[in-house]
Symmetry: C2
Subunit: 238 residues, 2 copies
Amino acid sequence: MPPSTPRTAARRKSTVTAPAAKQRILKRGHGIVDEVYELIRGDIMALRIKPDTRLSIDSLVRQLGVSQTPIREALSRLEATGLVTKQHFVGYCTAPQLNRRQLDELYEMRLLLEPYAARCAAQQMSDEQLQQVIALAEHMEPGASRTSYDRFADQDSEFHDLIASGSGNHLVREALARLHTHLHIFRLRFHSEVTKEACNEHDKLIAALSRRQAAEAESAMRAHIDKSYSRLKAFARE
Amino acid sequence: MPPSTPRTAARRKSTVTAPAAKQRILKRGHGIVDEVYELIRGDIMALRIKPDTRLSIDSLVRQLGVSQTPIREALSRLEATGLVTKQHFVGYCTAPQLNRRQLDELYEMRLLLEPYAARCAAQQMSDEQLQQVIALAEHMEPGASRTSYDRFADQDSEFHDLIASGSGNHLVREALARLHTHLHIFRLRFHSEVTKEACNEHDKLIAALSRRQAAEAESAMRAHIDKSYSRLKAFARE
DNA sequence: ACCGCCAGGATCCTATAGGATATAGGAAAC
DNA sequence: GTTTCCTATATCCTATAGGATCCTGGCGGT
């Protein structure tokens, strides 16, 4: 029976038996590169790796217990998304914190895309997708009030991604996902209680979506982003 | 005697006449990866490699005379921009031709971003940038009428990129560059005489920019994209 | 005639070694 | 005391070898 190979648990005995460091185990199933990519991306998104920090390939080799090639490929992919930067013969470095100007540009672009996406979603979104959005929003409100801001942030990203997906335009969705990735890192540094206000705004948006009111959904999204911008821009330095 | 090896082994054929204007030192010292990246990207953009074609790493190794590692990294970067796709244990493949739906989505997003960019550019663009746009447009009109559509396509991309750059929003510019990359490949398959009409529309846009008329520039850009869409959508299959 | 099975070849993925380069720290010269 | 130069180390970049996987073509069974 060829399928479901035993996965070759014992491998790589010769290496240096990683020092007491965590040595997180990464499962092999669909490529080590993807695994490494998601791992580093997760570390950056959760601020386990702070912005503007150097990422040494060799140390990643020692930490993860894999060789340079997949790490290099994963970092190259991260560079293309803008999460890390590369200098020739110097190395990789996590992207620096968003400054005021970049935050302005980010919200400028959000305001161009997201209200329109909400309008389209109100018109074209399937009922199933709508139910998914509603379920997510209900799940956001009560529980994770203070325990972990991370959860709220993830769910907020998913909320906006669902609406972007409902717009039917895959390119817009991808562009917004890119923006939210960067925004997430910025927002994570200020655990402020944006959650409650944001949830109220989400509810208004959902009401408009449920009634299939395109114009109303568009303006609700615009108001939501405007307020989110007001809440955050105080924290942007410079 | 220190090493100082000439380094240049079996290189590619003569480069494609780089613009002799800037003679910066970043000639070839910026790594083989970038070289390979630009080479493959150029081959795809010029349709020397057709869409939906497999890209074998080994054949690239033999063809370019470099080893797998830099090729793999270049392909990984191309994948992140959407020009090629990857399947685990299968290989890389150039992205397929845009279908009708994708073309619609692309123009939908262009219409969201570019008119706004033109509006901002009319307000914020520096005089130097404006002169650059005008110079490029003048250079497009007379010369390359029939000789090579490639040149026009490149210059058209640069034209729009200059305006996007003039908007002051770097994120919008990047997103548009991404879109234009894909559009370029599509458009290149139909050498139709879009050039003359496009140039006329460009002139109207430039007139609005020169007079710093924001609303006029926005509507001119919108009209330009609308017409471009009309010219192309007939060719989209399905 | 059709379908499942299996070997061969090609390709991809990972690991390791060696050459090349930037950055840090100290010593000498002004 | 400051500046410049030089050496040493750590890191990156490229090249090559070996193990793992997928696709193609042929064979035998039904």
